[in-house]
Each structure stands twice: as C-alpha cells, then as structure tokens.
Symmetry: C2
Subunit: 354 residues, 2 copies
C-alpha cells in the first residue's frame, strides 16, 4: 500500500482543523445567507416551511471502520439526513457537521471524511453551513443536522394515511442489509490479516447499497412533476415492517401488503440463499435501504404505478383489521417492528408481543 501523509491533528489545533476542513465552501442555496464562521448559520426561507432533522453516528454502533472507507462514511452520513428531508416531501438545503475525533485519526483521515460529506452536498445541492470538531476519548462521532424547505401544503407527514390508500415503495429492499452481512462475513474470514482484499465480484450492488446509499431525490421530483402529494411518507431506514407500523400507528389505520409485490433485487435473493436466510425477513426488517415508503389515494393508481422505480405493494385498511402481510401461499403474517434496535435485548418471543 502507498504510504500516505499523516498530519497529527495536534499540529493544527481545533480552530486550525476547522478552518482547513471548511475552507472554500461555496454557498449554493439562496436560502443560505451565512455559513461557517459565526456563532450560528443564518438562513432565509421566506414563505416556505423549514424542515430540520438530525442524526448521530457512533463508531462501533453505526459503522465499522474495518470495512467502511472514511470517504464513503462521510457521504453516507450526509445522505441519510437528506433522505429524512425528502421523506417529508421537502428539499434539503443546508447541513451542519459536528465531529468528535480521537487521536487515532490524522488530519488526512478527517479530510477524507469531509471529502465524502462535500461530495454528497455537491451532488444533492446542499450547503455545508456550520459545525464544530472536538477531541473524543475513543473513536469517531459524527453528528449531522440537515435543514430543508417545503411548501406548506406539500409536506408529507406520517399521520396522513387514509383507508383504501395505496402503499408504495421506491427501489428495492434488503440489499443494504445483505451488503452488511457480506462485509461482516469477509471481516470474520480475514480477521487478523491486514490489507485484505476479499472477492466481492458480482456483489457490487449489495456493497454499494450498504456503503454508498443514495437518497431518493428523483422520486420526490417525479411525484412533484405529476402533482402527487403523498398522504403519508417515510424513508426506510429501520426496515419496511417497522416504518409501515409507524405510519399505521400515527395514522390510526391498518394495512395489507403482499409478499409477491415487495421489490427485491436479484443479487439480494442470491445472497439470501447463500446465507440460508429468509429473503422476506431481509426485505421487511433489513434496514438502511433509504428508499421511500408512501401512501397515495387509490384514484392515483395508474399515475403512481407509472413512475419508474415505484411499486405498489398493498393498501391501507380500517384500523380494526391490523397490519399484515399476505404471503405467496395466502397466509396472513402480522407485521412486527423488528427494525434496528441496538438498545433493546429482546428475545424473539418478546418481539412477537409488540
């Protein structure tokens, strides 16, 4: 491996590091009046609504630097926040970035991370307007807050799904989870060996979904082009099952989805077979897909089904009918909030009770 330059963070100090990381950040949005360099960023949204979301990523919990390149990590950290803004039917405009960094990291490491954040901002037209960097005792901590805008009557909340609405998802599900399984397996196989280059051929899609996910800006744009405002919308970060239950609980409705309608990529299916895992479990509970889950009135069926990358997977019911998936052999299975939940130590039985 090529020897890379390593500058100790101590040689720059806190202010020096922030200056270096945030130098020459041009502002792209008219709503970004003042960016990095004061006590607070200054934004102007005029008559638009302001959306705000925040995400805290901790090393060892949310990411594993054994197999996640820092640039990818930066990219993903930004994109998952953009995804939350799109999930409100909004447009992300600004982010602030706070980092906690232990001595294990060099200035070049943090610049790599920032390069990923900057790339995501460039691709999605988002301004980096603030943040800070400080020491940490152990590992890397990334906290990103994203602000966005939306027209008042276009915002899609979680609580607006109505009986007979169609349930739609974008893209395909379960691939990011399979990518994670693949990375974890290779990590275990190559444990101890440095410089490991496992054979990921033919699985690039799964790795990309895990390491460099994209937010569905295109779907939000496609809906806007057709003047469709979803009655409810969320992004799928904790798994389809968990997110759909959020929408049903907050909207006070039930739902039926159909196993054979759930979009799954070919590589996901192959990996599930290789791992001897249930494909539908991966798709329902896998998490980190960052696809959009939304509901629209039944009358919009043809219009929504015509959007490339959108699949109708079921419909909203009366609350008394509960939340179920109909399997390929016509069995009804209750949906469970099994998503990512690292704070809980539930057993399989406890989960069933939810």
């Amino acid at each position: 491996m090529e020897q890379q330059k390593r500058t100790e963070i101590a040689t720059l100090g806190e202010f020096g590091l922030i200056r270096r990381l945030t130098a020459d950040i041009p502002l792209k949005n008219a709503s970004s009046l003042k960016g990095v360099g004061d006590d607070a960023a200054v934004l102007n949204y005029g008559d638009k609504r302001v959306l705000v979301t925040t995400d805290l990523l901790l090393e060892g919990i949310h990411f594993d630097l054994t197999y996640v390149p820092l640039k990818h990590l930066g990219y993903k950290s930004a994109v998952v926040n953009f995804s939350d803004i799109y999930a409100m039917n909004g447009r992300p405009c600004q982010i602030t970035v706070s980092l906690g960094v232990s001595k294990r990291f060099s200035v070049e490491d943090i610049e790599e991370l920032y390069a990923g954040i900057r790339l995501a901002c460039e691709i999605y037209g988002v301004d980096l307007v603030g943040g800070d960097t400080s020491a940490s005792m152990t590992g890397l901590t990334i906290s990103i807050t994203c602000m966005g805008e939306a027209e008042a009557d276009k915002i899609a909340y979680r609580n607006g799904a109505r009986e007979n609405d169609l349930i739609c998802v974008s893209g395909d599900l379960g691939a990011a989870y399979m990518g994670l399984q693949l990375l974890e397996r290779e990590k275990a196989v190559f444990a101890g060996e440095s410089d490991f280059t496992p054979a990921f051929e033919g699985r690039e899609y799964l790795l990309e979904r895990q390491l460099k996910p994209e937010a569905r800006k295109d779907i939000v744009a496609a809906l806007a082009e057709r003047n469709i405002v979803p009655t409810a919308m969320m992004d799928i970060s904790d798994g389809l099952s968990s997110e759909l239950l959020h929408i049903c609980t907050q909207s006070n409705v039930g739902c039926r989805i159909y196993e054979d309608r759930i979009p799954i990529d070919y590589q996901t299916a192959v990996m599930a077979e290789e791992f001897n895992m249930s494909l539908v479990t991966a798709a329902l509970n896998g998490g980190e897909d960052y696809e959009l889950l939304f509901t629209v009135p039944l009358t919009l069926h043809d219009e929504v089904a015509a959007i490339p990358g959108v699949r109708v997977i079921g419909h909203i019911t009366a609350p008394s009918l509960g939340c179920y998936m109909l399997t390929r052999d016509d069995t009804e299975i209750a949906l469970r909030a099994q998503g990512w939940n690292s704070l809980a130590e539930e057993t399989a039985d406890e989960k069933n009770e939810e």
Copy 2:
C-alpha cells in the same frame, strides 16, 4: 443515599425510550409547526431569518460525571446552544437533541438529563422538536442543534466591528473556570471515596457558573429596548482573549482592552489567590463564561454603559495597531488565542506564535 429506581434501557428499547423521553412536550413557539415524531421537524419563520447552531458534547472531554449531576448537564447542554443564538442577536426557538448512551446509564439517568434540557427549554421559551437516542460503546454523547429567529437587519455577526467602536462585555469573567478548578481539586482530594460531599461553602457562585450557566437573554432584550444593534457580537465560551481575536480577525481591525476594566467577581479573585493563579489569565482565557462580548459605535457610550451588567472594557483600533491589553501598570500585552483547545498539544512557546 436513597435507593433510586433503575430501569434498564433494554427493557424499553430505542423507540420506547424516545417515546418516554419526548411524551407531552408542548410546543410554545408559533414557528414550531411540528415537533418530535416525524422524519423532520417543521418550522415556519415567515419573513424572519432562521439561525442554526449545533454543539457536540462528549463524556470525558466536555464533562465529567464524577461531579456533574445529569440534570445540570442537560440544562447546560441546552443553554450553551441558546447562548450561540443570543450571540447573533437572535431568539432561540427550537432544539433537537441526539443522545448516544452506553449500558452504564439507566432510563432514570437519561430522564434526569432530559429533565434538565426540558427545564432550560421552559425557562428560555424554546421548543424541543426532535432528536434521537441510540446505543454507544462507551459513555454519554450529547448533540444539540438549536434554531432561532432574528430580524434581517438586527443580526450581529462577528465581522462588523469598526474602528473606534466600544468593546463591551456582560456579567463577569473567569468564574466558571475557577468553579472547574475547584471541582477538579475536590475530585482529586476525594478520589476513591464514594458519596463525597466536599465543603463548597462560600464558593456557590463559582460552582453555579460552571455547573448551571445561563445565557444572556436579558442583555439581548436590554439592547433591543434601547434600539441598539451591536456592530459585532459573540458569546464567550473559549475565553475573552480568543473571542476578541475572532472578532478582530473577521472584522479586520485591532483592539485595546484595559485590565482594570475587565469585570471579575469577588469569589473568582479569592479562588485565584488560593490557587496561586493569575487572575487576569483566568478572566482572559478561562472559558465557559457564556457572557456576551460585543461592539457598539462610540456614540452609544452612555446608553450602553447604563445597561445593568454591561461593562465597556476597551475600543477597536486600526488593524495595524494589533490586539493588546493594557495592564494596570501600563504595559501592553498581546492577546493570544489560548482558549479551550483539547485537540492541540501546543507548548507555551507555540501558543505565543499565534
């Protein structure tokens, strides 16, 4: 000590904990349209400017739970963000809170922390509109983002100080730093003993300044009452010297401040003597005062000097004259950015070169 109830976070899970922490949070600001419970909070600022600031606090770096009660920590975490918004001559309106929590903490611990955050929000009229809580490998991580509003022509940046402007500070300086020294000394003295109750009598003010600082909402209000818009403003979190250099650099000006004008509390002076520390160093470089440092045109001298709790400490000069403090014995000492800087391992000499 009374036995307190301890609920393991695992018994609630991530969603359960968030629900419990964010239940019944009423929204107080007209600009808070939608709070906790969706992908993003929704705000409406009409024609006002939106201010955004963020702060990441890490256990072992920014706080020491040996002597910081969790409720105080929550209060302070929120208040330091409000302080950044006031420092822009704005009004804080919303915060989002993200927590990373290791298994060492119980549900009651996190509720204590939240109780402090909620109390600060109540006192300052700020809405808690979002955030998340996740597991962490070690310790406690707190990330707070604060949004505020300001009228476009009232915002005080760091780059607006002009030659001959008066330099003003609110309150007194160095007390929070002395409070920290006191706590650290008592911690060392009582190391190993649990249940320690050191004698802090007569030093309550220093401890309060360190453990439960307030943001100077009153000063911002007093300025507004008198129709005074500072030409530049910052809050003093890294020490007067460091902050004043920020203003001078960004405004391209120099400054003269006078040692005998720097406001210092009696208890601060007594402690400095007891610790055999330089009082002026504590006041210049101590940090965590969360007082306001601002500049106003010379013509406003009488008006600004009449505001209770505000002291004029010097004036802005041409940039060629540099940044100096005139001591009591008429010596000019160059101001140095010696503030909090845990990433740097500078020697005293290196610091002098800045």
